[in-house]
C-alpha cells in the first residue's frame, strides 16, 4: 500500500531522517513516552504531543519547542512504547532539523552541543574544561566563577580536569572523513 502521509512533508522529513522512523505513523497517542520521561514535566510539549503536532504538520512549533533538547537520552520511552517507535532517535532527528532550520529559540542546549563537537572536530577528543569555560562564558559568566571557585576547582585539584586538550595523531584523516560525511549529508538533504 502506498503511504503519502497526506502530503505532510514535515512528517516525511522526520521519518526519512530516522533509522526505523517509519513507525512514527503508528503512534496511538497513549502517552507512555510522556509518562516515562524523566524530564517530561519540564518540556513545552510531551513527546506524545510532539508526534501529534508532527502528524499535523506543525513544523514551526515542533522545531522551536524545547522538548527534544530536554531529552536526556535515557531510552525509557523507546523500550516501553507499545508501538515500538524509536522515540529517542526521533528526538535526535528533531534536534538536527531544528539546527538545520535555525528554529530553536532557546539557543542554550544547541550551543552546548555545538561547542562540544567543536572540540571533537578540531582535536578528535572532547575537552571538559575548555567546554565548560567556553560554554558558560557564552551563557552564564557568573556560573563560571562559581565553577572555578567550587566544584570546578575541586575537580582540578583532584586531577580530574586537564588544562590542555588532547589531540589525536591522525587529525587530517578524521577531518577528511567528517568533511566527506557532511558533504554526503548535504546531498541527501537537498
Amino acid at each position: 500500500m502506498k503511504t503519502s502521509n497526506g502530503g505532510n512533508s514535515f512528517l516525511d522529513q522526520v521519518i526519512k531522517a530516522t533509522p526505523g522512523g517509519e513507525k512514527l505513523v503508528l503512534c496511538l497517542q497513549c502517552g507512555t513516552c510522556g509518562g516515562s520521561c524523566p524530564s517530561g514535566p519540564d518540556m513545552d510539549y510531551s513527546p506524545r504531543m510532539i508526534f501529534a503536532m508532527t502528524s499535523a504538520g506543525m513544523k514551526d512549533q515542533v522545531l522551536s519547542s524545547n522538548t527534544p533538547w530536554f531529552c536526556v537520552s535515557c531510552y525509557y520511552c523507546t523500550v516501553r512504547c507499545p508501538q515500538e517507535i524509536p522515540i529517542t532517535d526521533i528526538m535526535y532527528t528533531l534536534k538536527q532539523l531544528a539546527i538545520q532550520e535555525g528554529r530553536y529559540e532557546q539557543r542554550k542546549a544547541s550551543d552546548f552541543s555545538e561547542h562540544f563537537i567543536g572540540y571533537v572536530e578540531n582535536y578528535g577528543r572532547s575537552f571538559e574544561l575548555g567546554l565548560a569555560t567556553r560554554y558558560f562564558l557564552f551563557h552564564n559568566p557568573l556560573k563560571l566563577v562559581n565553577m572555578g571557585m567550587g566544584m570546578g576547582m575541586s575537580m582540578i585539584l583532584r586531577g580530574r580536569m586537564g588544562f590542555i586538550p588532547e589531540r589525536i595523531k591522525n587529525m587530517d584523516q578524521l577531518q577528511n572523513i567528517l568533511d566527506k560525511a557532511k558533504q554526503i549529508a548535504k546531498e541527501g538533504a537537498a
Partner: protein, 320 residues
C-alpha cells in the same frame, strides 16, 4: 592479536577515562591484570561524540564513531570493550544501524573512504566492561580472586540507562541484576533499590540545572532511603553527575546527602586486596573514606527467615 592465555579485546577507553574518570581507568587496568583480561587500546581512537554529535548532524556522527570501529577491526579485534556507557551505546548503535540500514552503511563507508578506512558491520561485537566481567570472567571467576570480602558494606549498584537500553540485550531493560550479583560475589550487602536503572540527567547539567539536579536528587534520595553506604557505577557520566553535583543538590534542596560514588572496578579492586590508592579512591569529590570503614572482616549474620504470616496471601515467584 597475541594468543596469550586469558581474554583479549580491543579497548576503547573514551575521553573521560584520561581525565575526569581517571579513577575508572586506573581501577580497570588494575582488575584486568588480576582477571586476565587483555585490553588492547585501539591506537589513535577518537571521541564517540557523546550524545551531542548525534544531535547536530547524524551522518558525521556515525562516521566519527565508525572510524573507531574501522581502526579496531583493522587491528584484528573481534570484540571491542568500552567502560563508558555512552561510548558503549554509540559504538553499539553505529554497528547495529549500519547492519540494519544498508543505505546508512554505504554512506558511512563513503565517508570513511576519505580517510582510507572501511568498516563492515558485524565484524566487531561491541561490549561493555561490566558485560565481559560478569559473562566472560563470570561470577565464579571473580569469586576466586576475592581476598578481602566487602562484608557489611551496603552497596547500591547503579546501572543508569545506556548499559541496558535501548536494546543491548545484556540485562533486563527495567530491572537489571548483573551488577547486584557481582557485588554479592564480592561479599557486599546489595541494596536492591528501585531507581537503579533511572537516568542521572546526562548532559542536562549543562542545559537546565533545575531538571538535572532534581533527577540527581531522586537517585540520592532513593539510595539513602535504602541506607546505601556507597553507590557503584558503570559510567563516567553517571559518576560525574552524582558525585560532582551532590553538593549542589544539598544546597538546592536543603538536604545532607553524603554518598560516595565509586566505579564498580574500584570496589572489585578493594575486594581483590588492593589498597584504596591502587584503585584511585580519593579522586571522588564525596569522599569514600568514611563508608569504607564499614567493611568488616566477618560476614554479617544471616537474617532469620521469618515464618510466613498465616493471613498473608502468596506472592508470585519472580521469573529469571
Amino acid at each position: 592479536m597475541s594468543t596469550n592465555s586469558g581474554h583479549h579485546y580491543g579497548y576503547y577507553p573514551g575521553c573521560s577515562i584520561t581525565k575526569n574518570a581517571a579513577a575508572y581507568g586506573v581501577s580497570t587496568d588494575a582488575i584486568a591484570r588480576i582477571l586476565g583480561l587483555h585490553l588492547h587500546e585501539i591506537s589513535d581512537w577518537n571521541c564517540c561524540g557523546a550524545s551531542e554529535y548525534f544531535s547536530i548532524n547524524q551522518l558525521p556522527a556515525y562516521a566519527l564513531v565508525a572510524r573507531n570501529l574501522a581502526l579496531a577491526a583493522g587491528e584484528g579485534a573481534t570484540e571491542v570493550v568500552a567502560p563508558c556507557s555512552l561510548c558503549y551505546v554509540n559504538l553499539y548503535k553505529t554497528d547495529k544501524n549500519m547492519r540494519l540500514h544498508p543505505d546508512l552503511k554505504a554512506k558511512v563507508n563513503r565517508a570513511l573512504d576519505a580517510g582510507n578506512l572501511h568498516y563492515e558491520p558485524d565484524t566487531l561485537k561491541v561490549r561493555h566492561l561490566l558485560d565481559i566481567v560478569v559473562n566472560d570472567v563470570g561470577y565464579d571467576g571473580v569469586a576466586a580472586k576475592v581476598t578481602k570480602p566487602l562484608y557489611n558494606l551496603r552497596v547500591a549498584p547503579y546501572y543508569g540507562c545506556l548499559i541496558v537500553r535501548p536494546d543491548t540485550g545484556f540485562d533486563n531493560v527495567e530491572y537489571p541484576t548483573t551488577m547486584d550479583k557481582l557485588m554479592e560475589t564480592l561479599g557486599a550487602t546489595v541494596v536492591d533499590y528501585p531507581l537503579k536503572a533511572e537516568c542521572c540527567g546526562g548532559h542536562m547539567t549543562q542545559i537546565s540545572d533545575t531538571v538535572a539536579l532534581e533527577l540527581i536528587r531522586r537517585l540520592l534520595h532513593n539510595a539513602a532511603e535504602y541506607q546505601a553506604d556507597v553507590i557503584v557505577t558503570v559510567c563516567p557520566m553517571c559518576q560525574l553527575n552524582l558525585d560532582a553535583y551532590q553538593a549542589d543538590v544539598n544546597k538546592r534542596f536543603g538536604t545532607n546527602y553524603h554518598i560516595p560514588i565509586l566505579y564498580f572496578t574500584q570496589v572489585m579492586g578493594l575486594a581483590f586486596g588492593m589498597t584504596p590508592k591502587d584503585v584511585a579512591i580519593g579522586k571522588e569529590l564525596v569522599s569514600a573514606d568514611r563508608a569504607l570503614t564499614k567493611i568488616t572482616a566477618e560476614p554479617p549474620e544471616k537474617p532469620k527467615t521469618r515464618k510466613r504470616d498465616k493471613k498473608a496471601l502468596p506472592m508470585p515467584d519472580m521469573i529469571e
